[in-house]
Amino acid sequence: MIQHSEDLHQIASNEQERRDGCRHHVHVCMAAGCQSGGGGELKQALEAEVARRGLEGRCRVTGVGCLGLCAAGPQVVVDDGATRYQGVQAADAADIVEALGGSPVERLRCPGDMAFFRRQSRIVTENCGRIDPERIEEYIAAAGYHGLHRAVTQMSRQEVIDAVTGSGLRGRGGAGFPTGLKWTTVAKAGDALKFVICNADEGDPGAFMDRSVLESDPHRVIEGMAIAGYAIGASQGFIYVRAEYPLAVKRVRHALAQAERMGVLGNGIFHTPFTFHIKVRLGAGAFVCGEETALIASIEGRMGRPRPRPPFPAEFGLWEHPTLINNVETFANVPPIIRNGAAWFSAIGTEKSRGTKVFALAGKVVNTGLIEVPMGMTLRDIVFDIGGGIAGGRRFKAVQTGGPSGGCIPAQFLDMAVDYESLAQVGSIMGSGGMIVIDDSSCMVDVARFFMEFCMTESCGKCVPCRVGTRQIHDLLAGITAGQAAPADLATLEDLCDLVRHTSLCGLGQSAPNPVLTTLKYFRDEYHAHIHERRCLAGACAAAREAV
């Protein structure tokens, strides 16, 4: 049981000794991406090879969380980044073990100094790929639970909230609401029973940040939630996680059991009266449950349908009690803020968007994977420097941020700094952090139709504008891509978008027109070509081609 800071230091120093006892450390990526590429067999092969050579005492093979560059998986990192290998298969295990301490295996080598690694700054993902997510000791050795200890033993509840407010942290789930303000509201609510909820219902297609964080460093999120519980006066938390992420669910459950056993969760944490428990709740595949009132309904075991706000969950939430809901990445930022202070955090990023942002970089870009960059980096740097440009020598067309609630940003804004305000200015949103690069082989009308189909299917059906409007918009877009639209349809489309945006009940409907509006604004020529010339400029819409 951990009760004092000495206990934490003792675990950390034991862990250090355990590390120092081994000359070589081989880290194998065991996140979902690399596992599906054969990471599990690779780890077994490496362990077998180490055993065969009798090196068990001197070389340790560890399964770690996301190493970032999913495009080059399965990845292996040797001796804390001294050598990085890519595309490794089980058959390569012997060569890798043979090369330990000598010159690396050239044919597998991944240049460690590439911009993809060099230009990132890691706060949320600082432990991703560095620690074994299934061992709480490694998290503690990486300064884990020191923030919680500091908060509950040395700080008042108000001081914790002040630190979060002072850091300038904003909600990483998409809307960017100031986190400190949310905490203050829940803390002030006069009710003895309050709840903390971690929203891990990452439903945006093309986003896997939360999954990676939960798979790679689950304790960070747990610690963030416990600090929040202390600050607002709650003793029960819930992690609402997608059932589609079985590995993340397994790691979170495992981490919770460890944390309870070690006493960093449970009754009387760090020998204080503070008590905090966390339960896992599984989602069941409904995008709308990312909306906070729908998420609450789902935790209560009902259909995930949103209700009008106010009252906001901060005052009237789970089982009608004040409830704090933050996203995975938001909670993951909290422990380092408490540990290093608000000033440290607020020095990173831009004036209105502090800190870093984790993005899932995917689509037609060379280096797909998980990245974390300071707020304010330009899109060009992200796509062309970190991302390595467009795959297959094609031309950049747009980058899509914010999923079905966001927009498509054209090349003219490549030099824009990425923060909440600038993205909103061009009609998109930060969203939870999916960033899909689109090249000239994709038709933007079809992309808009794809997102509208998503919103139409995911609409919960409670309010008419969203239920009926998304279908009407989708059918118009389908007509356009099929080369069967009339010129007047464009005006109808714009009218409908305006209506759905302003009259829907929740964020799903209100933001559903964004992909259509941004493509209408920046790629209007593609709409015109479909309507007037029955032609798809990208050559992607087969039906439009046939209709000519």
């Binding site: 599906s36 999913c70 297609p205 589609e244 069941a284 075991g301």
Partner: protein
């Protein structure tokens, strides 16, 4: 005992009755874990689907009785969420991801290929009951687009030929049941 409390397979307290359907154990354990509170409904349905492969009316009746929630609510929740299915799945399942990265990476062509060759659309099962086709909104394996899941195993960088080949092997090399 109330009618809706009798489990599928017909459990009664008399010793001569057939033993409890072993598939119900996970369902019962889940409900016990939550002390049979109504808010355990979604977790319980997950457990039932894991055990039975799908949710049939008998199981939903049983859960409604045990958790003391109206059957209408059980049915509403089971049909609201995409994760639950009321139809028995095929022997094998193939899930194709339709997330953004997979879509622009060509997953639609894979679905079209399956439809043309096997005659099944998303949510359907081949007539021989061997293969079910499902689509996912996003598997979170965007770095490996287009991605799919074959009987629980996530596989990335798919192409139509490879997927059709896998499905073909499931359908034809499998000894008939």
């Amino acid at each position: 005992m109330k009618a809706e409390n009798s489990p599928p397979g017909g459990r009664s307290s008399s010793p001569s009755s057939p033993p409890v359907d072993p598939r119900l154990r996970l369902v019962d354990r889940t409900m016990q874990l939550y002390r049979h509170e109504g808010h355990a409904l979604i977790e319980t349905l997950h457990a039932a689907q894991e055990s039975f492969g799908y949710l049939d009316e008998v199981v939903m009746h049983y859960i409604a009785g045990r958790l003391r929630v109206p059957l209408s609510r059980v049915f509403a929740v089971a049909t609201f969420y995409h994760a639950f299915t009321l139809k028995p799945p095929g022997k094998h399942t193939c899930v194709i991801c339709l997330g953004t990265a997979c879509y622009i990476g060509g997953s639609q062509a894979i679905l079209t290929g399956i439809r043309d060759r096997e005659g099944i659309a998303a949510g359907e099962t081949t007539t021989d009951g061997k293969v079910s086709l499902l689509v996912a909104r996003c598997l979170g394996s965007c770095g490996l687009a287009p991605a799919g899941v074959f009987d629980g195993e996530v596989t990335g960088r798919l192409n139509p030929a490879e997927v059709l080949d896998r499905i073909g092997r499931w359908r034809h090399d499998d000894p008939a049941q």
